[in-house]
Every structure is written in structure tokens, then in C-alpha cells.
Symmetry: C2
Subunit: 358 residues, 2 copies
Amino acid sequence: MAASTLAEVAKLAGVSPATASRVLNGSARTPGAGIAERVRQAAESLGYVANAQAQALAKSSTGLIGLIVHDIADPYFSAIAQGVQSAARQERRMVLLATTDGTPAGEKEAAAAFAARRADAIVIAGSRSTRAEDSAANSELAAELERYCRNGGRLGVVGQGIIGLPDMAGYRTLPVPNEELARELAAALAATHEGPFVVVAGPDGLATSDERVRGFQDGLAGAGRPAAEVLHTAFSRNGGFDAGTQLAARLASRPTDRGEPPCIFAGNDVMAIGIVAALRKQGLSVPGDAAVAGFDDIEWLRDFRPELSTVGLPLDDIGRQVTLGALADPSAANPAASGITGTEITGTVRLRRSTEGA
Amino acid sequence: MAASTLAEVAKLAGVSPATASRVLNGSARTPGAGIAERVRQAAESLGYVANAQAQALAKSSTGLIGLIVHDIADPYFSAIAQGVQSAARQERRMVLLATTDGTPAGEKEAAAAFAARRADAIVIAGSRSTRAEDSAANSELAAELERYCRNGGRLGVVGQGIIGLPDMAGYRTLPVPNEELARELAAALAATHEGPFVVVAGPDGLATSDERVRGFQDGLAGAGRPAAEVLHTAFSRNGGFDAGTQLAARLASRPTDRGEPPCIFAGNDVMAIGIVAALRKQGLSVPGDAAVAGFDDIEWLRDFRPELSTVGLPLDDIGRQVTLGALADPSAANPAASGITGTEITGTVRLRRSTEGA
DNA sequence: TGACCGGTGGAAAGCGCATTCCCACTTGTT
DNA sequence: AACAAGTGGGAATGCGCTTTCCACCGGTCA
């Protein structure tokens, strides 16, 4: 029933297991041609498939990369996952997937599972949470990862570093200029919008969201505009929809002649889509009754109408770089604090129809 | 540098490795409370993390589920992946991800990698290809999987069975009524559309696409309508876009009074979206100048405008069921040919704005 | 011709853990 | 009081593979 083993192959070929191992798997030493051929034939006839578990145990390297995302069905994460997958393939590794619903507790659990599996590297794509209620889980996560890295594991994190995790060998962060890009976006929007600004953000304490909000407010201030009102909701399409519904009600109860339509900045594209859906449902038009902008420029945004203004981020590349960075030689001077070098992630503000003047 | 081992923990606790193993991992025998506590403390203080590789080797079960998809960034696959992930979590397994670009050769490679890792089960979500050029790769894939199953591996496949793989223990197929649903859709569309029908399908030989086309033509015939012209292109958004561009050119060069607008059936939703985008780009409107329908009802379709008619498929559930089915007791009478029992996958035709009469 | 050497295959020691005996000991019987 | 049954812990074996280390063989140089 069980698969055949190296020993069986060796016996059939009339050689020692050592020799069989040398010919079947890449070894520094290559046995003679005649022997090699015999072994190969034996393996073939037995349908031998090397047991990667045993190999991993013997040479203590599993060829596994653990990927932690909030939700694999979210286009933001699936785009990053694609990049990770591609880098993994290039480095001849396989990716182990874990989804966490975004809680640090879930991330800790996933990290522990990856550590147990002795993954060569762990890549964390989800945003950090600085909420007070998550602080205990954050510490546990940091402790788990610190132990993992101390034992020789590699860690790559997208965006902000793990809270409470000190710089250490094998730990790399891939910075994403959320704040800066949000600032640029705000500046661009302020130049063409007279009306008030509203920000629809994720939960307070979600790092990525907070950074974008901060940058946006900063950009507004730089343009001499008052700070935008901030609505907190789920960092998802439905969160955007809920906020959009609220905003629609507000707009409807307002005399039409009272100034310019507002400009709504959503923390990410899926939220922006939710907002547009909600406004549309209430009979409001974008950009007529309200301008809307998002963030990320997820792939399928291009077919959405009205075309959404957003900030383009090379998601696929982010996934690739963070993976490659994590796998890179940990001895290279490159602490987490300074980020993964040679791979600056840059984004682009893209103004489109959804924020065009009415 | 290396992580601490069970033996170290045992020594620190002053017990044998056997005892340490018994308390730290679920065993039938539970050592005394005092001892257990000592061992647990020792493990804690050493930061012991069990080596899943070694455990897997010792008890020959890895807790791994291999998932093969064409493209994880495609919403169809990421929705299924989410279901697989959820089932895996429920069954306390982790999922190993492989993307293949849809070629049987890639699937074979992935299957081999999973077999080497001794995954408890392999789940294949991508569609089969019956193209002549893929036949060699298909045989290799079947051979690989047959060996895998013979060695005790479990296999779950979405949709059509693996070509050339006989029914065998541990191999289950989750049938998806593509043909039947496409027939229903055609019937529904035929009832409201006078104009000609056009089918934009995936590459000839892609099983899922072929089934849908066949069902659609059949439904048309049942309604007394002539067979639709079939355009073959890539089974993706861009494939749809290309076909849409062609169709748009054709529509434009046609006198406006020449009969009813055509009704275009796309093999899946992302293709439909591509088609709509292409038509729109050429200044044509949907459903005014052409009706468009898709298949799958992927999640983010609801925010797309015009709302697309399609066939709803419980993708998340498909992922769950195929995984659970693969993991289920292989001795239960349930050959691949008869599908995974107790889990009939049903879809629903959903007519929406994109196919409403002009 | 004898000492030295690169090269080749085998023996054996793990890698970290689960598990099957096996033994010493504590309880419960008549 | 003697023995059976039951219980808790340890020693040893093996999972399948990699990797020193060793023995050996033909060949080279002095």
C-alpha cells in the first residue's frame, strides 16, 4: 500500500541506499554512469517518489513558504498571493496558505503552524492592528515569530513591521508608502474639488488604513483644506457599502443647492466599490452627487464604471519582492527597520472618471 | 540555533522522550498530572515547537492538502480556494497551493510535488483539457495520480474526472451540472430574445467550456432556435475582451435596422465582463446593442453594471465539498464515477439587466 | 617498487518524533 | 497472603532519507 522507498530501489538496483540517494537526488557526488542508469531504472519500475518529509527531516530544509493573508478571496490578497506563488516557484518552493480573518490571534495561530512545519520562510501580507484589544495577541504573535526567526526561520512582512518584534536576522519588512501616496492623492483631489472631503476608513487601529487616512489628512492640510470627517467601518466591500448608505442618507436630506458635492476617499478599492454601489442604490450618481476614490488599483477595477480614481500599487510585485526578500541571505546587512533593499515599492496616483468635476 | 527537540524537553523535565511525547501530543495514554505539568513547563521554558515533519514521518500522515488551480488571482478560483481553506481548517489540515496556468503538464508537476510531500489529499479545481496536444500530458497526469491514489492518497476533482484515470479507492469527483445549467440558461434567454445567439467560449477542448457550450446549444435547439455561432478564445477576461472587440466591429458594420440585437453567451463571468468592456469601448451599449450573459456568478459581479445575467454556482461550497469528499472514508462505496454523494451541487439561472429586452 | 592520491561505493550515524513492547509497581480479589 | 489484573513510565525500534566517514582501487610520482 505505502509508496516504495529509497531502500527498495537501492536493493532492486543492487546498490547501497547511499548510492541510490546520490543518483536520484541532486548530490555533490555523482556515481558512475552504469550504476546511475541501473538505479534510475529501478526507481522508474517501482514508481518511486522521494518522500519530501523525510528529506526535509534529514537535511533540515523543507522547501515550504508559509503565506498568511486575511482573505484569499479578496482581490488585494489574491493578487499578492499570485506574486508570492510566482516567487516561490522561481525559488523552487511550495506555498502553504493560511487565512486569518485579520485577527492577530489568527495570525499567531498560523505562524505557529508554519513554525511547526519548519517552513523556510513566512510571509505575512495582512495589515497590523494596533487596537488595544489586540495587544495581547500581538505580543503572542511577536513572541512566536521571534522564536521562529531565532531558530533560523525567515520572515517577510508587507507594509508595517510586526508590533513588538525587534530587528533580527532573517526578518525583513517591505515598506509600502501608503501615507505618502495618500498624501499625493489628497493633493491631487484638493486641486479639483471644492466640496468637503470625507474619508471612509477601516477599523481604527488597522495600520494600513490608519496610514492612508493620516496621509490623506496631511495632504489636505498641505493644500490648505480643513481635515476630512472620518467614518470607520469594515475594511471590505460591505464596510464600504454600509458607510455609503449612511452618506447617501445624509446627502439626500441636504438641500441640493448647498455647495459642492463631497469627495469621498475610501481606504481601499473594494470599499470604494461598496460605496459606489450604495450611492447608486439610493439613486445618487458618481461623480455627480459625490466623487469617490479608492486605493490599490486592483486588477478588475478597470472594468468597473464609473472608472475609479485610485492609487496604483504593484500588488503582484509586492508579493514577489517580499518573498524574495525573506528568502535572501539573512546575513546581508538589511535589518527589518530599513526594509528590503533594492526593491523600492512605488505607487501612482491615478485620477479617473469617478472624481472628475461634475 | 536549531529549534529545541522533544528529547531536550524530556531531559529538562527528567522524563523519557516517550513520556514527553505522550503529554505534549495527543496520545491514548495520559501520564500523571504531576509529570505532565513538569513536561509542559519544560516545553514552555525551552520554547519547544513540535516538528511536524518528523511527526509526519513517524505516523505517516502529513496534515497537508494540496490544491491545484489555474490562477489564484482569478475570482472563480479564489472563491473555491476559500472553500477549500475553510474545509481544511475544519479538518485541521493546512493547504498547499499550486498554480498551473491551466496546462495538464503543470498539473502533473504540481501533483508530483504534492505526492512527494505526501499530502493527505489533492484537490484539483482547474478544468480538464481534451485537446490533442495535451493528451500526452494528460496520460502522465493520470499515471501520477493513479500512483498517488494507489499509495493511499486521496483525490478530489471539481467537475469532470481526470482523463484516463480509472475509478479507484480514494478518488472522488464532484460533478458540476454545467451542461444542464447552460441548457436552462439558453431556454430562458431564448424565451425573451428574438435576435441571433453567439457563444464566446474558451479554447476548444477545455472541458468546462465545452460542457457549457454544448448545454447552451442544446437549450437553443430545444427552444427551436438555430445553433449559435461559437467563437473560441482564452477562458479569461482578456479572451472575452478580444472576442468582444471582434463582435463590436461586426455590429458596427451592420445596418442598424437589420433585425434584433444579438445575445452573447460567455463561457464564464470574467469573459462576459471582458466582452462588455470591449463593446462599451466601441461605443456599444449592453443590453441595447447586444445582450450578454455569463456563468458562475462570481462574488464581485453584483457591483458590475449593467448587472450581468449569469448562472449562480456555490463556488465556496464547491471548494468545501470537494475537499471534504476527498478526505472522507475512501472505503465508503462512492466511486468517482458516481460523484461525491450527499452533496449535490446545484446552480441557479439568474436573469438580470444585461439581457433585458431593449 | 613503494608511498601517496583523487575518485567511488558502502556502512553507519543521525534528523525528531511515535509507538510497541516490557518492566516495576500499585491495586483488587478469594 | 498470594496472585491476577491494571497502571504508569522507560528502552528500543523504526519512519525514509542525507551525509559524514571509511575502505578500497587503480594510477602517479619519486
